[in-house]
Amino acid sequence: MLLRNTSLEENEVIMKISSRTAQRIAKTLIWASALFVIVILLAIIIFILIKGVPEISWQFLTEIPRNMGRSGGISSSIVGTLLVTAVAVIIATPFGVGTAFYLTEYTREGKVTRIIRFSAESLSGIPSIVYGLFGFIFFVMYLKLGWSILSGGLTLAVMILPTIIRTSEEAIRTVSYQYREVSFSLGGTKWQTITRAVFPSAVRGIAVGVILGIGRCVAETAAVILTAGSALRMPESIFSPTRTMAEHFYILAREGISMEKAYGTAALLIIIIFIINVVANMLINRYVAKGH
């Protein structure tokens, strides 16, 4: 009886807040959370840029690290990062997008699709160090690729595959079924329909997945440290070992070698990711612009 009374009173209290007040409170909270996120993001980026940008100089960009990274630049790391990322993206994109098209266009929902989707989801939840271990055992040791850009790139390719599959699948699914019908009704084969009617509409979403993948590759530390090595010299081919920027940053900070150089590396990393995003968006816009 007593319990009932309390709940009634509570109800009355809730009722007293008018819908207009509720609306105002909700609006404030939503604004506040958005503001909070933006402030934190900007704070981190600005902090690192302030600390790091003064370190960035022509010398920093063009020279290889000297004295374990205490002096000199990080040119070999920049090249290593870009190569490892390129290898990963070039390998993962066709497989990922292909799998996504298989899942959406070439098969009906069933056991196979469920297994693929379940594997992809499980893979995307695995910590990157585990990929590193796998890459070390499989690519570095078993396939005897050694610590190399190729081993690192292959490992990262496996790591970003689930992201690319999932975002691509999502993007392909949102393409209106009518486009497919129109293409088929005009005498298109399945392949023509996919490449000419579906892909152009899905490309933006697919690109988002690829860009996310690039971001993860550029930022990855644990998986590459075990597979690409940590050599400071300029890589000669994709069979050379290298030290990516994120890895270099980690070693500089962790070993207390040089915080200044570490911030410089971090700032450059942020700038590179920013440039990749802008350029990728420009390319996509140019590709998509025709239709809208």
């Binding site: 009906r108 209106s176 009518q178 486009y179 497919r180 019908e181 129109v182 293409s183 088929f184 009704s185 005009l186 005498g187 298109g188 084969t189 023509q192 000419r196 009617a197 152009p200 509409s201 025709k290 239709g291 809208h292």
Partner: protein, 253 residues
């Protein structure tokens, strides 16, 4: 004009999984005339149109029995190329569906699938198709702008032009004006009357009035069965079946 049957349908049955959508449907469709296949919702008119270009093949669990002869050749024969069939039997859908590309690229989509590559080889066909669909004057200065910017009525005429660019023999229209205003509807109906000089047209109108306005022949469908067919005037003024007269006079539907 010598009347000959462009399409002959013999005992067509269509199943969607276990549900029968079309029952024992037989009909002869003369060339260069407009046939309106009408009936209340779910009577099978859309499915019927989609069997004619085998777009129904895309539905998982669909099964067909019977024969559809196009110029005497059964379209279900294994040696029939479905893509060629669909180029001969073009289709316009109920909602205007321009692809997200330019007006030119939309019209050129079909010819390009057929292997025409250069813009020069496509230009004449695109212009001709747009003229036949009575859209040329409105879009000739902006062929490279996105088709999605056109109005609903223009978009639907674009879809008709896109089918015409295939140089088909038969045109199927599935409630082509259901999303359009009366002025756009009138324009499309006017073009259909001119197009029948060159093509055989089969339309599923979105209402009985449209069937009356455009069709030379009508076929009334109910629950997947063909109830009655014949010249429009005859069926409308003197329906033989009570269900037909009930539907035409608006007693149900």
């Amino acid at each position: 004009m010598i009347q000959q049957s462009k399409i002959v349908i013999k005992d067509l049955n269509f199943f969607y999984q276990k549900k029968q959508v079309i029952r024992d449907f037989s009909l002869e469709i003369p060339s260069n005339e407009i046939l309106a296949v009408f009936g209340p919702a779910n009577s099978g008119t859309t499915t019927f149109l989609r069997t004619l270009n085998r777009l129904c093949d895309l539905i998982p669990g669909a099964r067909m029995e019977g024969e559809i002869l196009l110029d005497g050749k059964n379209i279900f024969d294994p040696d029939i190329s479905v893509t060629e069939l669909r180029r001969k039997v073009g289709m316009v859908f109920d909602v205007p569906t321009p692809l997200p590309m330019s007006i030119f690229d939309n019209i050129a989509y079909g010819p390009r699938l057929g292997g025409k590559k250069t813009r020069a080889s496509l230009t004449d066909g695109v212009e001709k198709a747009l003229r036949m669909a009575a859209l040329w004057d409105e879009v000739k200065d902006r062929l490279n702008t996105p088709a999605l910017r056109l109005s609903g009525g223009q978009q639907q005429r674009l879809c008709i032009a896109r089918v015409l660019a295939l140089e088909p023999e038969v045109i199927l229209l599935d409630r082509p004006c259901s999303a359009l205003d009366p002025v756009s509807t009138a324009k499309i109906e006017e073009s259909l009357k001119q197009l029948k000089e060159q093509f055989t047209i089969i339309i599923a109108p979105h209402n009985v009035q449209q069937a009356g306005r455009v069709a030379d022949n009508v076929a009334f469908m109910l629950m997947g069965s063909l109830i009655e067919n014949g010249p429009t005037g005859k069926v409308f003024e003197n329906p033989q079946d009570k269900r037909t007269s009930d539907y035409i006079t608006g007693r149900f539907g």
